[in-house]
Symmetry: C2
């Protein structure tokens, strides 16, 4: 029996948006997936300006939804390491398409020339993201995709 708390339709898009449909959740997932961020502090200083109480709430929601896990760091127990679950890493395609759309249609500082390789190497890029996740490779993806993805400052 599917438990559906809200009064919305059962459409998969609707269900997805119930969890991820806000300005912050997917940015947190992006930072974990592509920039290799793990900690509260990193998300807070990611340049997007999320408030700490909202960040706290989002991490709890993503955790409750099974998209991320939270475990305290072994070597420094102040820190909590947030990681994507399998369900979380599966958001990579959606995130990539949002990236491509924004880069193509909005003023993002991303040159148009940079978009085509993204669409052409889509599968390779997604495979690389998944590989990094499986091997717990903490290095950001920038080296592979170019620095233009996240303009410094």
């Amino acid at each position: 029996m599917p438990a559906r708390p809200s009064s919305r339709s059962g459409c998969p898009v609707s269900v997805s948006l119930e969890i991820l449909g806000d300005r912050w959740s997917l940015l947190i997932v992006r930072d974990m997936m592509i920039r290799g961020f793990r900690t509260f502090k990193q998300f807070q200083n990611s340049g997007e300006g999320i408030a700490s109480n909202v960040l706290s709430g989002r991490l709890r929601r993503l955790s409750a939804a099974g998209i991320i896990t939270a475990e305290s760091d072994a070597s420094d127990r102040r820190m909590i390491n947030y990681r994507l679950t399998d369900k979380g890493i599966d958001l990579a395609p959606a995130l990539l398409e949002l990236l491509i759309w924004g880069a193509r249609h909005e003023n993002t500082g991303v040159p148009c020339a940079a978009i085509e390789p993204l669409t052409k190497n889509r599968e390779a890029l997604l495979a690389e993201v998944r590989r990094r996740w499986q091997q717990r490779d903490p290095a950001p993806l920038q080296a592979k995709t170019g620095e233009w993805l996240w303009p410094e400052k």
Copy 2:
């Protein structure tokens, strides 16, 4: 000079979420793209339960962002026909990936067996969506993709 009103980063994902990052905007786009909806009333009765004032605001925002257009119907001037722009139809890949993710990882009433054909026929599906848009074909996509996508009621 790129005008960036908010204090967020210039990352394409961030820019996309500034416009689309809420519970309703992409559902409206979905209804236009896949179900062939055009009018205020249709969006209101789409089964998601969006309030009329919020719907009004979203249509204005999407219109201002160049994702949809609004023109009054020639034969009935009470009605306003909302249509996707080229920029709007380009959201199809992102929407499809959100659909696949939701269907795969959440309880949506969509059988798991239905997901694989979506990923396999991704390109064909997107081509069909774009064709329907170019030809202004108002028929919903259901016939092609199966009725399970939007369970009745």
